[in-house]
Symmetry: none
Subunit: 200 residues, 4 copies
């Protein structure tokens, strides 16, 4: 929502460490480059490739993002935050809790499907992505959970559902969705969400 929440110091931020005329530019270039390279080669892309694309040296990446997970988190922070904030908003504006849930999942899927390889790494059990996983889940699971609860309370869906599991399922369904016209992740997710309905 508010752009670069982490880097922040946006408006006032007096005490925030200044001196980033170029550093700022580099950080942005790095994020853009990483986003682009991630789309092309996945989030495991060589550090060198990202640096080259950003037009900076490799060490610059390490300075800004000590670990790969830090970089990935930074790259996708915007969307994750936007998604997190969309939950409560939808709950108010949608026709019903179930509808809010459906639309929120749609937004999440839109996000994942357009980021090649992101869904895959989200499921990776590769240690070192722990902080990445933690960030995604910490931020989004509560939101999803609240949507589920509301829909369940309204009797629109079953009540035995687990938000973490659902999110992982949705995430999984998005893997490989770009790049292959024969597979439409949105349709599959729609089936999954339809499956949440109380069974006869």
């Amino acid at each position: 929502m508010e752009g670069n929440s982490t880097v922040n110091d946006g408006g006032a931020g007096r005490a925030a460490p200044r001196k980033r005329a170029d550093a700022r530019r580099n950080e942005r270039a790095l994020l853009d480059a990483a986003a682009a390279v991630f789309v092309t080669s996945g989030v495991e892309a060589p550090v060198r490739d990202i640096a080259a694309r950003a037009g900076v040296g490799v060490a610059t990446i390490y300075r800004h993002f000590p670990t790969r997970a830090d970089l990935i988190v930074a790259v996708y922070r915007h969307q994750v935050e936007a998604c997190a904030e969309a939950g409560p908003a939808l709950l108010e504006s949608a026709a019903s809790p179930y509808d809010a849930l459906r639309r929120w999942i749609d937004q999440f899927v839109d996000f994942l499907v357009t980021k090649h390889g992101l869904a895959a790494v989200l499921q990776s059990d590769n240690a070192g992505f722990d902080t990445l996983h933690a960030y995604f889940l910490d931020r989004l699971v509560p939101v999803c959970s609240r949507l589920l609860d509301a829909a369940a309370a309204a009797g629109e869906i079953r009540s035995d559902l687990n938000a973490l599991e659902l999110m992982r399922g949705v995430g999984n369904l998005c893997i490989g969705a770009d790049n292959d016209p024969r597979y439409d992740a949105r349709r599959m997710v729609a089936l999954l969400i339809a499956g949440l309905r109380p069974q006869p």
Copy 2:
């Protein structure tokens, strides 16, 4: 089920090259070793590890299985065949076409969930796995398609469903299902299958 019949000597095996005293033994050792290593380290495990476990030299792997995809296909051929053959059988024995579909999917999921990393590589867009993908789909999509058609004909599920897509969805849902007690792929797949029901 039937050894590794498909590996070669397909049906008649007329002019099949002879001389397999030890070659055969090696091939079997290789398959067993690969299966074991795949479970431990995933299907991207170092060639050397597999060779070491099989007690053969690395070059022997390359002789028998020129590409990694060949090896993976060979390793899982049994189960894929078993799964393919189970389709028609279930259609006859199950209470209804939908029930047959459900149980067939269950078997497929059982297979994938117990093979660490297999589901992931099945979705990988990594060129070089093309033959792997082709084999899985060629063999299983028709089976799944027939089950879907039967269930649709019986009015038990929607009729706008695509077997390839469904299989990929199910495969996706199995990614990362081992090794993480917080995620139960079978439950997610059950939701997906439930979503196939005609919507009110």
Copy 3:
């Protein structure tokens, strides 16, 4: 002992460049930090570590001490000067020239043994340490030479001894003396000095 008199403003300090309000303070902080880091990580410690410890930027080090050798020299100037000045003093106060020599060597050894890695770098043939070597030798060899001469003149030691060589031998014996309780450099040096005695 006397600040860092040799660093500049040597004797009269006629046209010495002014403006040292903070520059001075930085130089001192740098020397202290370097001394501390040298003890911890040896004289080849990363420039960054020293800068960080001094609370200054790396470039400040380069401004004050263009080469690493310059920094090392500056760090140890005090002790070297003290050692140099102790020679003549000991020659007057000691019981005999040999005793003066022995005690002077003791002081030199005390110095080296307490500076982790200094003895090692003193022997390093690494170009770039030339000025370091030169400084140590220029300053101390004449002193040692005079002590040797006096002892030889008194017939207390052999007369075929070379001060430079002796100092390097003593310096070598001090390498690795810290940090290893199984090796006592002082004892080895004592043997060496004992070996200076006229042989029967």
Copy 4:
């Protein structure tokens, strides 16, 4: 004495794993190259340099010598063994135990002085050289100890001497001895050995 004791299987060695027509040649090339590079650049020389000089790929080094210490030990094994075996022999052939000790030390010094950088690494407290240190000391300290004991028993030297310490002292004195005509390690060692004599 018998050349390549570790690689062995020299004469009979039936059960020894064969198949080393070229591997052997490479191992030798590697040892020669390493020895040469060590002389030039010290034992910390880049793996690549050694590989290049040997005319092999880097991985070949890792195959033969998994750690750097393994390589260094292998490179100097010959001389260490020869030195170890020379001890008892000298004790029998020399005019006196002290003379045997002196000549044995001479041999050790000859070895070290001709290997640029070896003496230095022998004193390095760098972890990872532990096995290297262990090898040298395990092999040579007992030999030196016996020579010291014999000389002490004969009343030719003081009896409070420690072999490990003496060897480190001698080793230290050899550091930087090549390459600098102003420093003669042999002369310094001779002083040290002279210092072993019972003091008046």
